[in-house]
């Protein structure tokens, strides 16, 4: 057995250090209240969910920049279906279909036409955002269905916010799939060395297609959570979310070059970012200070986990 390297756990360590730091300095300003900790989990839920799927995508050696705009699309589609009077489960299906559709398009261009995913999904990000604006002429669509809003937004189950439950469940499933199923192994092999995986019988094209589908579905779910949380869908949901999700993934210890991925790290990475943002506001830092500190922490968190010249 290889020696356990604490460097692999740096994101968890940092998360705990940051929590402890805020706990001591601003614990009595409300940082440590259950509500606030739940708040952190709630507001990071969408990023977490997109980041879980992004971990799959990145592990397979690809990237998906279209998740933010896809989330908005799914949110709008779902809201419109409900506004048209259909029951919410139908809206959920429609939203998921929209996400899967975008995922399938991405997958098609990446695997069949062999375009680098960075470019495909960058183009798709723009295209879908344009579509988002078009769908409702940039008008927000409010969602009055209270079941939907409870399940996907502000509801609580057994005292736990539904958004927290969603992110834990998705991260849990993601963890099991990546770590304990043959699909997970195939993803990692595909990202580690595509040709070698091919020669070993892994259908890397299908694997890549599948991760884009998953990413589309996760984006759709995130979109529904945005809209459930805000009880409204709007075209600009998820702007910049793609970079946040990627940052969470890499902060968690997944290699940007594929072949290595950890969902738990991603979860911790996402929570770390959310905690920093939340804590700095409570500390009373202004926006520019918040940005500087958050940026510095991201770099330092990883620097800390590296041996020099490693």
């Amino acid at each position: 057995m290889p020696k356990i390297q604490w460097q692999n756990y740096v994101v968890y360590i940092f998360f705990i250090v940051v929590l402890a730091f805020f706990g001591f300095t601003i614990g009595d300003s409300g940082f440590l209240t259950v509500t606030n900790l739940f708040n952190i989990a709630r507001t990071t839920a969408m990023i977490t969910i997109m980041a879980v799927a992004m971990t799959f995508v990145i592990s397979a050696g690809e990237l998906d920049l279209s998740v933010g705009s896809t989330a908005a699309l799914a949110a709008l589609v779902g809201a419109l279906v409900m506004q048209a009077g259909y029951p919410w489960p139908l809206a959920v299906m429609a939203a998921l279909a929209a996400g899967l559709g975008v995922g399938a398009l991405n997958g098609f261009f990446v695997t069949v036409i062999s375009i680098p995913s960075f470019l495909v999904t960058l183009g798709m990000m723009q295209f879908i955002r344009g579509l988002d604006m078009r769908v409702t002429y940039t008008n927000p669509v409010s969602i009055s269905n209270q079941s939907f809003n409870a399940i996907f937004g502000s509801g609580k189950f057994y005292g736990l916010p539904s958004l927290l439950i969603w992110s834990v469940v998705i991260a849990g499933i993601g963890h099991v799939v990546l770590k304990y199923t043959s699909f997970g192994r195939e993803i990692l092999a595909t990202g580690g060395n595509r040709l070698a995986a091919e020669y070993s019988g892994v259908k890397t094209r299908k694997v890549k297609f599948a991760v884009f589908l998953l990413s589309g579905a996760a984006a759709a779910l995130a979109g529904m959570l945005y809209s459930g949380m805000m009880q409204t869908a709007r075209f600009n949901f998820g702007e910049g979310a793609e970079l946040m999700a990627i940052a969470a993934v890499i902060l968690g210890g997944t290699s940007l070059f594929g072949g290595k991925g950890t969902i738990l790290g991603t979860f911790a990475g996402s929570l770390l970012i959310g905690t920093i943002n939340n804590g700095l506001i409570i500390m009373g830092l202004d926006v520019s200070e918040q940005m500087m500190v958050a940026g510095a922490i991201i770099i330092l968190a990883v620097a800390f986990g590296k041996k020099p010249n490693g």
Partner: protein, 365 residues
């Protein structure tokens, strides 16, 4: 119809009959054109006052306030913040948090949730969107913080009950003044363009509507031949370039916000237009457009908001509501039309200091 055949913004709706009626008035200076979101009439910000006892009472309260902005980086936001903070300082209200959502609704919600933890006595905030952020504001209000809205309220909150007031510019009037300024600048007739902010945003939507309404109601000889959107102020120049390439003989343009307006000025310069034959108006009175106007540049008129006054009004309303006073629920800060001739007074009104030397020097040239 002057502007009926152009391609309007996606969010555009026809001006109401009442708006069209008011748009016909020659003098708007004593009229509040925009109604509140709940249909209530506007209360002039200048009439807000705190008595000495009230001030003492506020000071004794040791209140805290959080400010949640939607964006930063222009003089509107800066002046607004200065007005707020100076007034709070005077009243002994402590600013415990200040956030910037940077145009992102979800970020604003996260900001508000972090703020809610601090349980400030007062929240002053501009909601980026009246629907998406509604529940976050409601939660803060329910937790006991008083809420004062900048520019617009969110859905499902009632004035006087869930929030104290909205303090806003008269945005329809702002748009109408823009039409007036442009009409005056181009000498009463000609072809003009409207460069709008393409995203659905309550206040800019109203300004566009006011501009169009005024043109339709009063200026049949000023033709709006094209409306083009930008979704990022830094892209204003690129959009203006395209518009000028397509309509090289335009006489003027309304450009939403100062950065796009300056972009349009540079585009016009590059396109070989001169301030003599192309005029730009906008609704942000900041240093850059003011200097350009002083220098006889392309900027020919500004329909200015009064962000400092608005900030003071917001803080004042906040103070009143903290000590349990009744407040008007819709407070309006009237716009101010500024041209090159009225620049020194306008500057003094908005910024409370004399025109900087650079500008006054340019004016006397």
């Amino acid at each position: 119809d002057v502007a009926a055949d152009i391609k309007h913004p996606l969010w555009y709706t026809e001006p109401s009959a009442k708006t069209m009626e008011l748009a016909k008035l020659d003098d708007l200076s004593n009229t509040v054109v925009s109604d509140g979101q709940r249909g209530e009439p506007g209360f002039p910000a200048a009439d807000l006052k705190l008595t000495d006892e009230q001030i003492e009472k506020v000071k004794a309260g040791n209140f805290t306030v959080a400010i949640s902005m939607g964006w930063l980086g222009d003089d509107w936001a800066s002046q607004q913040l200065i007005g707020l903070k100076e007034t709070f300082e005077k009243l002994g209200i402590k600013v415990v948090a200040e956030t910037n959502a940077n145009w992102d609704d979800a970020k604003q919600i996260a900001d508000l949730e972090a703020i809610s933890v601090l349980q400030p006595d007062l929240l002053v905030s501009i909601p980026l969107n009246g629907q998406t952020t509604a529940s976050a504001y409601k939660k803060i209000a329910e937790a006991g913080s008083k809420v004062v809205f900048i520019d617009q309220a969110v859905d499902g909150m009632e004035p006087g009950k869930d929030y104290a007031a909205i303090i806003s510019s008269d945005n329809l009037a702002l748009g109408m003044y823009l039409a007036d300024a442009l009409h005056e600048a181009i000498g009463g007739e000609g072809d003009v363009a409207a460069m709008y902010f393409a995203n659905d945003f309550y206040v800019t939507n109203l300004r566009y509507e006011g501009f169009i309404a005024r043109v339709m109601a009063k200026y049949p000889d000023m033709h709006v031949v094209v409306a083009a959107g930008h979704n990022d102020p830094n892209k204003g120049q690129e959009v203006a370039q395209g518009v000028l390439a397509r309509y090289p003989s335009l006489d003027g343009m309304y450009a939403s916000w100062s950065i796009p307006a300056m972009g349009a000025a540079i585009a016009a310069n590059v396109a070989g237009r001169t301030p003599g034959d192309f005029k730009i108006v906008n609704e942000n009175f900041d240093q850059i457009v003011a200097l350009n106007m002083a220098q006889n540049g392309f900027i020919a008129g500004i329909s200015s908001q009064r962000p400092y006054d608005q900030g003071v009004a917001e803080a004042t309303i906040g103070a009143l509501t903290l000590i349990g006073e009744e407040t008007p629920s819709y407070v309006v800060v009237p716009p101010l039309k500024v041209t090159r001739d009225t620049l020194p007074e306008g500057y003094k009104t908005i910024y409370r200091i004399d025109l900087p030397e650079e500008m006054s020097g340019a004016l006397s040239n």
